[in-house]
Structures are given as structure tokens and as C-alpha cells.
């Protein structure tokens, strides 16, 4: 029993290192903008995080985790998702620096912002 536990612990460490390495391109997004990614979750009629800051070239993916459909629509007309039902996603790649406010056109009280640097 004890031996099994030790075995799991020793396996876990290299796995964690591997995961950290795999995740490094997005962590060091500024150095490799093409691979940069960010996630925004839609939960309880709100975008989280409400403001996400990414480098130029980053792709932001929104996932709707509510039981109700939402949209992701740029206030300035830059991007506009189709209606996203539960667990559906929308991605947009930001190629220019700037601040991109957006909202859910179905529930306009829901607002968020993408800052591209």
C-alpha cells in the first residue's frame, strides 16, 4: 500500500513539470504572440474575467456555461458571435492593439473588455 503511494507521488512530479512546460507558450505570450490564448467564461450572466489583457495576435475564446443562450458582440462592431447555447464557444483573434469593449446583445447588462497590447 505504502509502495503504491510513493509510486504515484514520483509519477506525479514529472507529469506536473510536463504540464507546466506545455502551458508555457501561453504563459510567455509576449514572446510568442502567435500562440497566445485567453479564455473567458460566461457564468451567471457575466463574463469572467470581465477584462482580459492579451498581446497582439492572441485568440480569445468565450465559453457559455449558463443554461441560457448568450452572444459576444463588440460594441464597436469589430466582432460578433452567433448565438451561443450552453457549452458552445466563440473565438476571435485580435491582430491590432487597442481596447475592445463588448456585450451580450441578448442581455446587454452583460459587458466585458479585451485589452490588446
Amino acid at each position: 500500500m505504502t509502495r503504491t503511494k510513493v509510486w504515484i507521488a514520483s509519477l506525479a512530479t514529472p507529469v506536473m513539470i510536463a504540464l507546466l512546460l506545455a502551458g508555457s507558450p501561453s504563459v510567455r505570450a509576449a514572446d510568442q504572440p502567435a500562440a497566445a490564448k485567453a479564455e473567458v467564461k460566461i457564468d451567471n450572466f457575466s463574463f469572467g474575467p470581465q477584462t482580459v489583457t492579451v498581446p497582439v495576435g492572441a485568440t480569445v475564446t468565450w465559453t457559455n456555461r449558463d443554461d441560457i443562450p448568450h452572444t459576444v458582440v463588440s460594441t464597436d462592431g469589430v466582432f460578433k458571435s452567433k448565438v451561443r447555447d450552453t457549452d458552445e464557444t466563440f473565438s476571435y483573434t485580435f491582430t491590432k492593439a487597442g481596447t475592445y469593449p463588448y456585450f451580450c446583445s441578448v442581455h446587454p447588462k452583460m459587458t466585458g473588455k479585451v485589452v490588446v497590447q
Binding site: 451567471n44 443554461d67 441560457i68 452567433k82 448565438v83 447555447d85 469593449p101 456585450f103 446587454p108 447588462k109
Partner: protein, 342 residues
Amino acid sequence: MPDKKHDLIDQQLQDFNDDGVDRRGFLKCMAWAGTGLVWTMSGGIPVSRAFAKGYGKDAGKGGDFSFVQISDSHIGFNKPANPDVTATLQTAINKINAMSHKPDFIIHTGDLSQLSKPSEFDTLDQALKGASAKQIYFVPGEHDMLSDNGEQYLQRYGKGTKGSGWYSFDHKGVHFVGLVNVANLKAGGMGSLGHDQLEWFEADLKGRSASTPIVLFAHIPLWTIYPDWGWGTDDSEQALSYVKRFGSVTVLNGHIHQVMQKVEGKVSFHTAMSTAFPQPAPGKAPSAGPMKVPADQLQQVLGVTDVNYVVSGRSLAIVDSPLADSGSSASRESADVDSTLG
């Protein structure tokens, strides 16, 4: 008849009336009986009356009539809060068909569908074909305009309407106006009617006698219930300024999936239950999402609204009944009324 509750509501209305508003023509009042809420509006001395099962049986004589409001059918929704919204819509239709007085027509205050899909609209149409009242008036909810700026909604339900689907009609001396406050919504805002519709609305009312009873219906409430959840309409105040000179104005809305009401001057506001799923009371949950209740209680928080117009008394009575009768739903609705008036 829960007398204590009745007294409390009466007392609150009394306080409400002490705000300097002229009592003549004041819309009044409500009484609770079982699960039905009766809301009688009178052009003369206010009278509150209890809801009896036979109420409205005289409708149809002379110029009297009744109609039914249903709302928020969300056909296509299939999550745990109600995995079969078509069945509960059917139950609502059965309830309408079983009414002792046949309603002249049905008003659906929007969110017919969940995702504006043609198949969802088809299912709704098929179910509504079985209703005893053949004339059905619609306004869209935000769920009906998701994919195509409401083109499909207009083709199916908005023939002959203006703009994004607004219109008016007269029925036995009452002027009805269907308004659309779910189109072209702006970031950070609530419901919106927009300049074009407001202009049309003002012109539509012009020249009408102040004694004409007015019924406005729209999806999102035309009074601000809870701004944090967008439960209101940004430019409703302007719209309501146009109806100020009328002696009797009734505003029927949906969207919030629960009964709420308010009386302000000569205007009475009322929201209907959904036929699909309930939503939480304002601020009582992290968000306005579907509220899960035990399956055996679902039909107590869904329902239909029956509106009776009686010419002799110049009054309308609004009765909300859940799909399934239960004492617990009555107390739930009473609580809503209390918080609205309080």
C-alpha cells in the same frame, strides 16, 4: 380566502394611495383567493373583489369580453429546470380551453422560442393550433430575434406590423398596443423601444378619447423592476408619458417568469408567469437564470393570465393561475406583491 393577507395588501395600497394621486380613476385592487389573483381596475370608486371560480362567467354579454395572456414558452429549452417545455405549454393551452368563459383571443408576450430556430417556432405553432381561441397576438422576446435580427419572427408572427413588430388594434372599445423592446439593445442598457417606435406610439394614441381603456403589452417590463438584471426598459418613461391622459391603462409584460405588479396613478403594471420555467425573485440568486424547483412543484410556478373586461363596471380583472393548483404558490405570489408594493 386569506383575509390577513388581503388586509395587508389593502393596507399597503391605501398607503400607496396617500401619495397625492387623485383617487378617482385610480386602479385598484386585488384580493387573494386560493391561487388566483384578482386585480380589479375601476374608473369610479375603487372596489376590491374576491376571485370566485365563476368570475368572468358574464363575460361575453354586451361588450364584455376576456382574453388570456401567456408568456415565455421558450420552446427548445431542455435543461433540468424543465426538460419538456412543450408539455407545459400544452398544459397551459388545456387550461385555457377548459375556461368556463371562452376568451376572445390570446396574447403571447414573447420568448416563444429558446433559440429562434424554425423547428421551435413550428412546435409552438402546432401546439397553439389546439387553443380554443384562434386569434393570437404576439410580440417578440429577445430569444425570438437571436439569429436574423428577427426576420423570421416577422415573417411568421409580425405580418402587417411596423418596424421590429409593433402594432395596435381595437377590440370592443379597448385599444391594444403591442410594443417591441427587445430589438437593437445597447451595451449596458435594459430593454429599449427606440425613437421610431416612440414616435409611432405617440401618433397612434393621438385623437383617441381619454376614456378609451388602453392595454399595452411588450416582452420586457415597461417599469423598472431590477436594473441589475436588466428587468426594465430604458425609454419606458417616455412611452408612459403618452398614456397619462387616459383613465385606464393596463400594461402586460413577461420576461421575468413570475407575477409582479404595481399601480402608479391610472396605470397598472403586471407581469405574467412563464409556461416553461420559473426565474428567481430579483436579487435572490446570483443571476436571473432558470430556477430549478422539484419536478412535482414545477406546475405551481408556471401559469396563464386571464384578463376580464367588464363594460358595465369599466373594469378589468386580471387573474393569474398556475398550471397546477396549490396553496404554496399563492403564498409565493403574495410575497412578490408585498415586495413590489412595499
